[in-house]
């Protein structure tokens, strides 16, 4: 067994104090140590974007970050996006309405990436949205449903109190 470090962090508002192997990726820590398996791993080399989570409000490829590096951070994963068990976040609602997902494997990374993007760009153009998700690969949808979801979500969110988007202190 390798060397361990103690990390203290908050995931989706829940505090954790855990011992982690120093080489454990943040993705594997979330998935297998905390059993938050909504964060998916598609390439393990930082290209596909499926494993994207928000660390202190900023999108991060959790396959390229070590769990030990997340010490002291506030993390948002896909499990932390919906406001409650009965409701979906407007972005999630928009994904459902516009067929923004098929197999659902890239979806957690799309959602977290767009959550950050729409927080910082409340009135994006289609081109802006495409740029924003250009680092997230989807093999099912041809992206059109995702782009439409994001544009519709932007509109829905503009009509809402901004505090529904986790900002980790980075809101502009």
């Amino acid at each position: 067994m390798g060397e361990k470090r103690r990390v203290t962090l908050e995931v989706n508002g829940m505090p954790y104090e855990q011992d982690v192997e120093v080489r454990l990726t943040l993705a594997d820590f979330l998935r297998h140590q905390l059993r938050l398996t909504g964060t998916h791993i598609g390439c393990e080399h930082g290209v596909c974007g499926a494993c994207t989570v928000l660390v202190d409000g900023l999108s991060v490829r959790s396959c390229l970050m070590l769990a030990a590096q997340a010490n002291g951070s506030e993390i948002t994963t896909v499990e932390g996006i919906a406001p409650s068990d009965n409701e979906l976040h407007p972005l999630q609602e928009a994904f459902r309405d516009h067929h923004g997902l098929q197999c659902g494997f890239c979806t957690p990374g799309m959602l977290t990436t767009l959550l950050e993007f729409l927080r910082d760009n409340p009135s994006p153009t289609e081109r802006d949205v495409r740029e924003a998700i250009s680092g997230n690969l989807c093999r099912c949808t041809g992206y059109q449903g995702i782009v439409d979801s994001a544009l519709d979500a932007a509109e829905r969110l503009r009509g809402q109190d901004k505090t529904t988007v986790p900002d980790g202190g980075h809101a502009l």
């Binding site: 791993i41 596909c48 459902r96 098929q102 494997f105 998700i133 997230n136 782009v147």
Partner: protein, 782 residues
């Protein structure tokens, strides 16, 4: 009136769970005490194995076992996965061993497995397994592989010809003898990997108390995995279950049963612990099946009016090192070459060449895109040579709508007739041209050229056989809870199967999709199952679900009539209740719930079952649908080529498609768009490279390019609905349709944009450097 749901863009049942991150994919399966596996794989394309030293790996703390073929054999009836589809044309049987013991024939072939406390430890230890190789020469390029004196892919072989077959009809020699023009093309086509964002994986768990083995696997075909495991492990069906969790995309290669599925199963039995293996992306590049190279030599004979008289030629198809599926890909390619056109005489010779690379099996489209590309290149060639508009040559040769159903004197791989069942191909082309502004394009092109921009337009028509039979099993059952449960042998890989089946069943059982649950891809849920491939589930499972739900509906109404003392005609099913319709002289709203009916039909000891129709409220169907339902359509693509960089931008993309009656427009659009993205990748981006020694060159997603959101245009969709006469719903498949026409239309458009440079493109994919080189050559010629 009952609610109608068929034909509506109903929201997907799958989505709320997936959007919350609460799906359960293969790497999310957790069994107490589960160990994790990593495979030792060949770094060489071809070598003899002289020895395997596992000692250093076994010494790593946390390693439970290192297994080679010798360790597996006590648990196996045979070392080989025998999976090839039947065909008389095989010259060699090349089945994959569960692990390579004596010889490796491609980079990535598994040799040993390490089972450890974690994947991290297993991967560490796998590095320490020392395999002693004697290198052997490799056959990499499929053209070289069939040359005289080529190194054999398998050292016991004399040559690399895996199979050869001929196909055709009509008097081809007479057709060419009377031709006004004969044009020939040499075409190279390459497809690449599937690259579902979720890689492969499996978890096996063995319960020694009951001797039950359960395999969870990210598979499109769990029932065929079960059959292979039953054969190889010598277990009976009662001792095995194969289950698919949520699947993060399939696209073809997940229909294959893989060595890892067998090895992990044996390891779980041998160690008495659950074992998980999750493929990483590099492994996906070097072990998951792909489609790669096809070389076509084709000639077309036309008369003075550009009407096709005949097409003849040959296909050289790269097969990879083993038969992991069969001869089906080039069979599809050859069989579908005539496509939507009238081709009076036809002859193709097809050879399958073994190479020292990952086996080749279907990727979304399965040989059809290559055929469509070839025929569309021929159409463009005829137009150019004869000075006709590209659309006019096509219009003259398209099969007219009144010729449907149109029999083509060809046979499918199963010996069945090829009959294009329905569709209006000329209308498809006409309306696509109108939507895309084909007529005005020369004006746009001229204006663009005057400002130094190079834009072009291209067209491709297609047909795609879908719904390959013979059947898919579906059971529809009303439970005492009042819920309607649907079980199918088909597998949900992201295409919305649960929603699609719930919609079909709800249409007949109360209209509430939320009251329907759908279980897919579990061998414990259905006795038979074929699985997901070939754009088949809406047709096959959809039809079985429709017929089964109809039978259950009939019984529900009969029993309700008995219970409510009312004629069947006066009843309707609404949500989970059967009501007496409002009418004069009758008290409205008399009702019985589906749950109450199911209770009554479940039987009570000592009491008769009401209605005299036998117990239970369920039906199982395997509606036989041997003939394929042919989807069809047209693409017009408009592109801009940057002549300095060779970059291609798709400016407009119109796809007209006809998948018969539409069950859910939203899902159909999603399939058409996703297929299109895949086809654009095949036209412009996706290249699985190998060097001359069989070493893969593109083993990550930075080197191998998938289409991303900025490269993907917004697709303009046109729907036509020609119901298929072959099934009661009138549906055709759509999953692969978007892929098929894309390369033909895009390459045609790129060539059109580069007309000033006299560029001719005879391959896919075409990369920016290749485009720049073609421009340079064109300029040199001028």
């Amino acid at each position: 009136m009952s609610r109608r749901v068929l034909g509506e863009s109903a929201k997907r049942l799958e989505d709320p769970t997936l959007l919350r991150g609460r799906g359960r994919f293969i790497d999310d399966v957790l069994i107490p005490g589960m160990l994790e596996a990593a495979f030792v794989r060949s770094p060489h394309a071809h070598a003899e194995i002289k020895g395997i030293d596992t000692q250093a790996a076994l010494e790593i703390q946390g390693v439970h076992a290192v297994l080679t073929l010798d360790d597996l054999m006590p648990y196996l009836q045979t070392e080989f996965l025998v999976v090839g589809l039947p065909s008389p044309s095989y010259k060699q049987d090349r089945n994959r061993p569960a692990l390579a013991g004596r010889e490796v024939v491609h980079v990535g072939e598994p040799i040993a497995v390490v089972i450890a406390e974690s994947r991290y430890i297993a991967e560490d230890a796998a590095q320490l397994v020392d395999v002693d190789y004697d290198l052997l020469p490799a056959a990499s390029d499929c053209r070289d592989a069939l040359a005289e004196g080529a190194p054999p892919v398998h050292k016991d072989a004399n040559d690399n010809l895996l199979a050869e077959f001929n196909m055709g009809y009509g008097d081809i020699d007479a057709a060419f003898a009377k031709a006004t023009h004969i044009f020939s093309e040499s075409i190279m086509q390459h497809r690449g990997g599937s690259h579902s964002i979720e890689c492969r994986g499996c978890v096996a768990s063995h319960d020694p108390a009951t001797d039950q083995l359960t395999l969870w696997v990210s598979s499109q075909m769990p029932h065929s995995a079960l059959r292979v495991l039953v054969d190889m492990l010598g277990r009976d069906e009662n001792q095995m279950r194969v289950v698919t969790p949520d699947i993060g995309g399939g696209f073809g290669p997940k229909l294959v049963v893989y060595q890892e599925d067998v090895v992990v199963s044996v390891a779980a039995i041998k160690l008495g612990r659950a074992v998980k293996w999750i493929e990483d992306r590099r492994e996906h590049f070097i072990t998951t099946t792909q489609e790669r190279d096809q070389y076509w030599e084709v000639e077309i004979a036309v008369d003075e009016n550009a009407l096709i008289l005949g097409i003849r030629g040959s296909i050289l198809h790269e097969h990879g090192a083993y038969t992991a599926r069969g001869i089906n890909l080039p069979q599809n390619s050859a069989e579908s070459l005539p496509g939507p056109y009238e081709v009076p005489a036809f002859r193709m010779n097809t050879k399958l060449a073994l190479t020292n690379k990952v086996p080749v099996t279907p990727v979304r489209g399965a040989g059809h895109p290559q055929a469509a590309f070839t025929i569309e290149r021929l159409m463009d060639r005829v137009a150019r040579e004869m000075g006709l508009d590209r659309t006019e040559v096509r219009r003259r040769n398209l099969i007219p709508a009144d010729a449907m159903p149109y029999s083509r004197p060809l046979k499918t791989r199963g010996g069945l007739a090829v009959v294009l069942d329905s569709g209006d191909y000329p209308r498809s082309q006409k309306e696509t041209l109108e939507r895309a502004g084909w007529e005005d394009f020369p004006t746009r092109q001229k204006a663009a050229r005057e400002s130094g921009r190079h834009i072009g337009i291209g067209i491709a028509n297609f047909v795609k056989g879908t719904g390959r039979g013979p059947f898919e099993e579906v059971t529809v059952r009303v439970g005492t809870s009042g819920k309607v449960h649907v079980y199918t042998g088909g597998t949900a890989i992201g295409q919305g199967t649960r929603t699609m089946l719930a919609q079909i069943v709800a249409e007949q059982l109360g209209g509430d999709m939320e009251n329907v649950t759908v279980t897919t891809g579990d061998t414990a849920a259905t006795s038979l199952g074929i699985g997901t491939s070939n754009s088949r589930l809406a047709v096959t499972a959809g039809t079985s679900a429709h017929v089964a739900a109809g039978k259950v509906r009939e019984k529900v109404l009969q029993i309700a009539a008995h219970v409510l003392d009312s004629p069947v005609e006066d009843l309707e099913i609404n949500n989970a209740e059967v009501h007496v319709k409002e009418q004069p002289g009758r008290i409205a709203n008399e009702k019985v719930t589906l749950g109450e009916l199911a209770h009554a039909m479940a039987g009570t000891p000592g009491y008769t079952i009401p209605g005299g129709m036998g117990p239970g409220l369920e039906a199982t169907e395997h509606v036989i649908l041997d003939s394929k339902a042919f989807a069809s359509g047209t693409v017009v693509a408009e592109v801009e080529v940057d002549i300095e960089t060779g970059g291609v931008t798709i400016l407009n993309y119109v796809l007209a498609h006809d998948c018969g009656r539409i069950i859910n427009p939203m899902l159909v659009d999603g399939q058409a768009l996703g297929g299109t993205a895949h086809g654009i990748g095949n036209a412009l981006f996706e290249w699985m490279g190998y060097d001359e020694t069989g070493q893969p060159l593109t083993t990550n997603l930075a080197d191998y390019l998938l289409v991303n959101a900025t490269e993907m245009p917004r697709v303009n969709l046109l729907h036509h609905e020609s119901p298929s006469p072959l099934n009661p719903l009138g549906v055709k498949g759509v999953g692969e349709c978007g892929v098929v026409p894309a390369p033909g239309a895009i390459i045609s458009a790129v060539e059109d944009a580069l007309k000033p440079f006299d560029v001719h493109i005879d391959r896919t994919p075409i990369s920016p450097p290749q485009i720049v080189a073609l421009i340079k050559q064109g300029r040199a010629r001028a």
